[in-house]
Subunit: 329 residues, 2 copies
Amino acid sequence: MDAQAKPHERLAAALSEPLAEVDALIRARMASEHAPRIPEVSDHLIGAGGKRIRPMLTIAAARMNGYMGPYDVHLAATVEFIHTATLLHDDVVDESGQRRGRPTANLLWDNKSSVLVGDYLFARSFQLMVETGSMRVLDILANAAATIAEGEVLQLTAMSDLATSEETYLKIVRGKTAALFSAATEVGGVIAGARLDLVQALHRYGDALGIAFQMVDDLLDWQRGDETGKGFGDDFRERKMTLPIIRAVASAKGEEYTFWVQTIGRGKQGEGDLDRAYELLETHGALESTRRTALDWSDTAKEALSVLPQSDLRQMLMDLADYVVARIR
Amino acid sequence: MDAQAKPHERLAAALSEPLAEVDALIRARMASEHAPRIPEVSDHLIGAGGKRIRPMLTIAAARMNGYMGPYDVHLAATVEFIHTATLLHDDVVDESGQRRGRPTANLLWDNKSSVLVGDYLFARSFQLMVETGSMRVLDILANAAATIAEGEVLQLTAMSDLATSEETYLKIVRGKTAALFSAATEVGGVIAGARLDLVQALHRYGDALGIAFQMVDDLLDWQRGDETGKGFGDDFRERKMTLPIIRAVASAKGEEYTFWVQTIGRGKQGEGDLDRAYELLETHGALESTRRTALDWSDTAKEALSVLPQSDLRQMLMDLADYVVARIR
């Protein structure tokens, strides 16, 4: 493996065998004898070549604690199913046209299929967890599922609400990303029978990594010529209360505040407003302070891991925490 | 209690205390400190005064096997949450305008809220099951969730497909109704620690009751002046392959078959087609044979219960199996 390879590529190489088992299990459980529509829709997403970050987190967490299987593979498939189900339901609700550079499932098929196939994947993930026989695992994933759903609803109601606090923002971010990251790493530790303090450390790592990841996403929205497929200022156009905007609004007075009320609160955006928004973010250092907060969360993730015994896998997870924020350094 | 009262009313009276606990638990768990939209949406459905059939099935099944609580209440709330989540997702997918005589959640709010609040209720139901500490209960409900989702997808793809078999129809019906009915009664038996043969009998009862219930629903579609809110021939207009239509299509030849291809397969329905469809159902005895099949399932439900010790609750469940088909006798 090239030493210059990205940490998730090194993880994928180190865990290639169990990850192949995860893929096989996903394909086997996605199949529905009676309803061919199900693999059609979910294959579209699962086959789209996502990075499999969540399954890798679970397997790495289990194996760095000496687990020899087989249930880390089950749990890795579980988290990927939950993730995919969430994307399917997200496609419906956001009326978004693209995901991972392909048309979303609900344009190729319809809302019905996205909702119901998502439900099917949730149910399948639930069966996979039950097979592990671990009530603690079920408890962790049930709580993660509630946090995810609550965060999604909260995002819906906080949308274009200028009063959105950083506390609410964190809840939304946990729902979008961090709750499943932290559950993924935590169940890996639990299935390996790791000590409670190590399990908690794994949870904190996943949580902090997910939060950093999402804040970087907020920042990339304001990066020109970014290759991730997001356009400059998309979040602003969609009136999302991202962290940079929350902070710029918090610093805004008088005419500036009126500008945010107009563009985010009322959604009346005209020519020049996007540039003006960017200027205000710069003026108040909102991008710079968000960048620093993201780096802090990345550090928190690495610190959490420091209580675990040194290993190659641990190093890759540490590097992953650096990599997530590397693009904004 | 009036001896002439309907069986579900007698059940509600006999189980009024635990049912009040179920309602209290539902309200407590529906609450979301952070996302007030959640109780707003789900209250609309849960508060709409459904008959609480599923919670009653669970509690009756547990108590007729000597269970003294407290987890039958948890499980009753669980099945009601799953039911409500299913309705919410159904509202999105069917683009239906009315449910239980009120506007559906997705007209009052939007598709987003229906999908996400449904997901939240699923997650909450999952947490409730975990609290019972019973892996068998989790296994049963995970399988029920998969059957429900698969049945819903199957219904979507079988819609207006003239080749739909009675086997496929049964899978759809189990997904719509019977899988949750049978899980509701089965987990009641399991939580009470009932013998395996009794647990299986409870499962068969719920399954057969649910199937009978759905077949009656198919028949009521062809009843003029029915007060349930369905209009005469709604299923035909929506091109649903209900059992009477499946049977009439199976008997159709030549010009009759062409009629079904035209009206159900291609959805080209003109003046007089509804009357013609009804006439064909009558000609081939499709309504009468569906009626007989529904009565057979009602008998199957009662027979299943016969292995359980005689009790007032058992009698009410038997009467419920009669009541479900009483309107079509």
